[in-house]
Amino acid sequence: MSLIQLRGATKVYRVGEQEIRALDGVDLDIAEGDFVSIIGPSGSGKSTLMHLIGCLDTPSGGSMVVGGQDLSRATADDLSRMRSREIGFVFQSFNLLPRLDVVGNVELPLIYANVPAKERRRRAEEAAKSVGLGDRLANRPSQLSGGQCQRVAIARALVNNPRILLGDEPTGNLDSATGETVLGLLGELNRAGKTVVLVTHDPGIAARSRRVIELRDGKIVGEGRP
């Protein structure tokens, strides 16, 4: 069975009288260890799909199974547990906490996984070193460059040792050179066994993955292997 499995998944938002079908019957399987890009124009539903895969939300209809767990009717606590164990997020705008230093930001997921303080610190430092930030442990995000910030975010995503890494336009705020290193890092992690799912509108980035899924109007309209 695949790591992520969606069957007829829909997501419907109500805005006043209007119903917006952000996702409209999506069937999708992502195998463990795959490197998938989801592309599509804005409003195509790729962010919504990403939120479902990232266990930030549940589908309005259809079924969704992540890591063997049926999340079609999951509670907020179930979703939190999934995010804590199985998923690491890398956002376009980094989403670091400005008051915490690198170690503080990286260890954040471990706090909510009830890891004891000492262990937390050790694992956070280890993760920061693995993305090349060993000499920046006590710096705050404001003292780091964009590329460094994104590496902090990747370290944070990795620290819980999740099976799935989700990137929401992870290079969107970076110049192409630093974007390249971040993509390289993600590729490396994928080769090390992580399942990587990227959401992007940049076909060039999508071309770096092994599988590209194209969305339009909430439906999968194309799939290919570059």
């Binding site: 939300d57 606590d77 995010r83 954040l108 706090i111 944070r156």
Partner: protein, 447 residues
């Protein structure tokens, strides 16, 4: 963990946190100060009551016998010296008994000058214990004085200074005074009894305040002579008010027969209970003894100070309650302040909450964090409030009536801080709920 996050949050917004603490600081300090103040009033009352003669005193007062007993009223000899002797001898819980006879007379110096109408009292040595008298000079009356019926007198402080103005008290001892026409030798002068603020004013050289109702006046105007002397000198001519009823085998006394010292009716009879823990039992003992000496006629009643103490205590309680209520209201206002700031800080921190949710925080983690933060703010505010209350109490000490110096108590402090933390808890619930119900997706998108 939530504790550390909360501390970091408070530390990184020092001014904002301080503002939200301010209400709690004021609330806690005024609550502590109010409790200290009412405690001070209470202590003042207590020392005052102690000076007045404490709870231990029980007065035996005459009382119209009720109901059927009325018929037998004249079976009872009334309050006599026998009561006092029997009480001291048979009621083990009674430590002192002071029977007294009074005689209104002009008290003047030996040469007849300075005469003023006063109430001379014939007493036993126990009187000095029951009246809580201290000696300024000389001695009290002794058992020997009573046995022999000596012509010795102990004067209250204001009597001594009225009769012998300008004379040092030590020299008043040994002088002669006249009670009516009879000369007495002064053997002792009592200590001046006064309220604390009078004593302070006297010490500071200020004008000594006088009061319309001065509870110590009677004590300071004492003219005390031995009980026996009082009887023989002034009261032996009294006719008994009723016949002493015939006892089997004893000839009945005719009505109006002269009194003996044993049969004369006392003007006052006061006893002191040795141990307050056995107050109720002591009252029962006293009743048992008196029922015997009064031949079963309940023509007496026991007056205790309990009712009076109860009244005083209930008024102190009322003062404490109203003061506490006002402070509690200011604490609630402080809590609302915290709630305000927490709500504001949450809308500022929506994105942070979104991030925490995204990395695996459960809604209840967020709830707990906000709650801990608001409790921390109120706790720290409470700590500052304690320090502030110390200053406030110093100020109160300067302006409050000196009798009621505020007393800082540990339970007052603990209660205030506990209440502050409770206010923080309550006012944190709404913001915490709001924060924990944020949708992670919207929170992450929030700019």
């Amino acid at each position: 963990m939530a504790l550390r996050i909360g501390l970091g949050e408070i530390a990184s917004h020092k001014f904002r946190s301080f503002l939200s603490m301010l209400g709690v600081v004021l609330g806690v300090s005024s609550l502590i100060a109010t409790m200290a103040l009412t405690r001070g009033i209470e202590e003042g009352m207590r020392t005052f009551m102690q000076q007045m003669g404490g709870l231990e005193l029980v007065s035996v007062v005459p009382n119209e016998p009720g109901g059927l007993m009325f018929e037998f009223a004249n079976l009872s000899p009334g309050r006599t010296l026998r009561d006092a002797v029997a009480l001291k001898g048979a009621a083990g819980l009674v430590s002192h008994a002071s029977p007294e006879l009074e005689h209104p007379a002009v008290v003047s110096r030996g040469d007849g000058g300075g005469g003023e109408r006063r109430r001379a009292r014939g007493v036993f040595p126990d009187h000095f214990v029951i009246g809580m008298h201290g000696l300024e000079a000389g001695r009290f009356l002794t058992d020997l004085d009573v046995d022999r019926g000596t012509r010795c007198v102990v004067l209250g402080s204001s009597v001594a200074s009225q009769l012998f103005p300008g004379t040092p008290v030590a020299d008043v001892v040994g002088r002669t005074v006249r009670i009516g026409d009879s000369p007495f030798t002064v053997v002792g002068v009592l200590k001046l009894q006064e309220r604390e603020e009078q004593a302070r004013a006297r010490k500071a050289g200020r004008k000594v305040p006088t009061y319309r109702w001065d509870p110590f006046r009677q004590k300071n105007e004492s003219v005390l002579i031995p009980f026996s002397t009082m009887f023989h000198e002034f009261r032996s001519g009294d006719r008994s008010e009723n016949a002493t009823p015939a006892l089997p085998g004893a000839p009945a006394k005719a009505e109006g027969a002269p009194n003996s010292m044993e049969s004369i009716r006392l003007d006052t009879l006061t006893v002191r209970i040795g141990d307050l823990r056995h107050f109720r039992a002591a009252l029962l003992q006293i009743r048992a003894v008196l029922d015997l000496t009064h031949r079963g006629v309940d023509d007496y009643d026991l007056e205790t100070r309990e009712d009076w103490f109860d009244r005083v205590e209930s008024s102190v309680r009322a003062a404490r309650l109203s003061g506490g209520l006002i402070s509690a209201i200011s604490l609630i206002v402080g809590g609302i302040g915290i709630m305000n700031i927490m709500l504001a800080s949450i809308s500022e921190r929506v994105r942070e909450i979104g991030i925490r949710l995204a990395v695996g925080a459960r809604p209840r983690d967020i709830f707990r964090q906000i709650l801990v933060e608001s409790m921390l703010i109120s706790f720290i505010g409470g700590m500052i409030g304690i320090v502030a209350s110390l200053g406030l109490i110093e100020v109160l000490k300067l302006i409050s009536p000196t009798e009621n110096v505020p007393v800082l108590t540990l339970d007052g402090i603990l209660f205030s801080v506990a209440f502050a933390v409770f206010a923080g808890l309550v006012s944190g619930i709404h913001p915490a709920l709001k924060a924990s119900r944020l949708d992670p997706i919207t929170a992450l998108r929030y700019e």
